[in-house]
Symmetry: C2
Subunit: 346 residues, 2 copies
């Protein structure tokens, strides 16, 4: 069996978990669940040499040192430094151009949580098998609630270990999300992909020829520095940024999905983190980190990096004290945190 | 007309407004409403020389310097330093023993808020008139809700400017409090009293002879130091502490009350402070002090002495950031704040 090549994307500003996550120290690099950071967890999921090649990490220059520190001793690991943030399609194309063209790449975000690593690996192996047959494969995350914050994938014809994708659906409204959940035909688009590197580049050239050309130029004009690769800044800067879904997945005739029921969360806001931490909750559903006194509360998440939090009588509230900022939000309000005045301060 | 002698009591630990109010800096000495502290407001209410003599303040040694600083230049003002905290009856008796025996004393807590000073003065004049006729007079605060946290006074026969007190009622349960409110016969016992000094001491001697004896001894053995009077510590320490209600008011045959509808609040917890600050609320009923960003909230009270508070989607929550402590409580939970672990730290 040929090894799968993990490509781990470390983009994103991560202000939705402000004030803990900040531009200088965004979500992937924080130990939000357990001892490991989300990035370290992403690495650990693809660490088994029996299945996976050493990882290739794509990151901006601002976070290169964080990436290097958290990568640790990992022989063969490579780091691609994006000269600019251009969304996922150019980042993935850079990695594809640097890998052997027949390599199967597994593209993983670095800021998601996966509770069941065995299920993740099973889906990865199924996705890789389809990718070897020249499918462009997306993980279809098992939906367990009518979420309006994600895109959905609609299943088509069955394939070996997966399905063709019948339809890509933008973030739906609530009634639509409920209908999707009830139908059982839809799963969440979790941003995890498997492709043959050469196939991905060929599809990109077909659907976004200008982007493909500029990525190729950036790679040709780039230079290596030990395990780091620096694409040429000028052609990369000229790229019109776009997601891999828009640029390729929605246009290809070979889109497929593998079901993935693996305790996934994108930890997209404080309420999502509270859900992911439900296992450590007290009898009232409260989760606390740091100096926290809780009296008569339920479903409270309280995090502090120092000052004591005293919480009384609250229900479904997140209290985050970090770096001299105090955030108090309802679970519903948690979606708005990235838009707060404080969250825009570096 | 003879002047009324204000006696201002500065006792109490004030942990119910923790973390702003602390043992070292309790509620009376904080500018919780407007620029003046509650103690300064209490002084201002009795500052008009046309009606009031200079004040006598009774305080523990721990707060003597705060009292002196906030008293400022006030010719004739006196400060009685209690050698120990023994509840209100001994504190009031000390003041009574130091005043001319035919003086009418007006006993005022230092940690209450009164919105309508003219109404306060009208009630004070009515109370003083009854006190001159040898009534022991309590202010009967107009009740505007079925409060279970206060004692109640039940009106009896009408007197000039007031009523005899038919009954003293302990803190009632909710149904009883509702019945009291509906009946219109009950008012709150706000802890504001008027007596002739000599009459109060005579009643104390009748109902609590041991306390009266020990107070007289403490005064006889005490010494003055400028405007300060230090009662003798030993006899005062031997007193069994008791409230003036228990020691005298509930036992005398001459208890009276004057109605007082004056925008009174004892600022007994953060929710009560929020109510007293309703005039500065935004359209959503939110009150903020310090660096506060509020999004989609209603009836939120947010106070900070430094770190920014960002509040999202909350309803009826008090957020208090002070001295490195973060308190987040519902309005209902505000009653429990004094019992929190943090509130017991000096």
């Amino acid at each position: 069996m040929t090894a799968i090549h993990p490509v781990i994307l470390c983009g994103g500003s991560g202000t939705r978990l402000w004030p803990v996550s900040r531009q200088a120290l965004p979500k992937p690099f924080l130990p939000l669940l357990g001892e490991e950071t989300l990035f370290e967890q992403a690495l650990a999921r693809v660490a088994d040499g029996a299945y996976f090649a050493p990882p290739m990490v794509v990151s901006g220059a601002a976070h290169a040192e964080l990436v290097t520190a958290q990568l640790g001793e990992r022989p063969g690991a490579r780091l691609v430094i994006e000269p600019a943030a251009k969304n996922t399609a150019p980042a993935i194309a850079l990695a594809a151009a640097l890998l052997p063209q027949d390599a199967v790449m597994l593209v993983c975000p670095s800021d998601h949580h996966v509770a069941d690593r065995a299920a993740f690996r099973a889906s990865a192996l199924a996705a890789a098998a389809l990718a070897r047959e020249d499918y462009l494969v997306s993980f279809g995350i098992a939906a367990d609630r009518p979420e309006t914050g994600y895109g959905y994938l609609r299943r088509g014809e069955p394939l070996a270990g997966g399905y063709a994708i019948r339809q890509f659906v933008e973030k739906p409204d609530r009634p639509r999300a409920e209908a999707y959940l009830a139908s059982g035909e839809y799963s969440w688009n979790g941003g995890i992909f498997a492709f043959r590197a050469g196939h991905l580049l060929a599809e990109l050239a077909a659907h976004r020829p200008e982007m493909a050309r500029l990525v190729a130029e950036a790679v040709a004009g780039g230079h290596s520095e030990g395990a780091r690769f620096h694409p040429a800044a000028e052609p990369f800067a000229a790229i019109a940024g776009e997601s891999i879904d828009y640029a390729v997945m929605e246009n290809t005739a070979r889109a497929a999905m593998v079901p993935a029921d693996m305790g996934w969360s994108d930890i997209g806001n404080w309420a999502a983190l509270a859900d992911a931490l439900a296992g450590e909750a007290d009898a009232g559903g409260n989760v606390a980190r740091g100096a926290v006194d809780i009296a008569g509360c339920s479903d409270v998440l309280a995090f502090t990096d120092g000052p004591r939090i005293s919480a009384v009588g609250l229900e479904g509230v997140c209290i985050i004290v970090s770096g001299g900022e105090v955030l108090v939000t309802t679970r519903e309000g948690a979606q708005l945190v990235g838009k707060l005045p404080g969250a825009s301060v570096p």
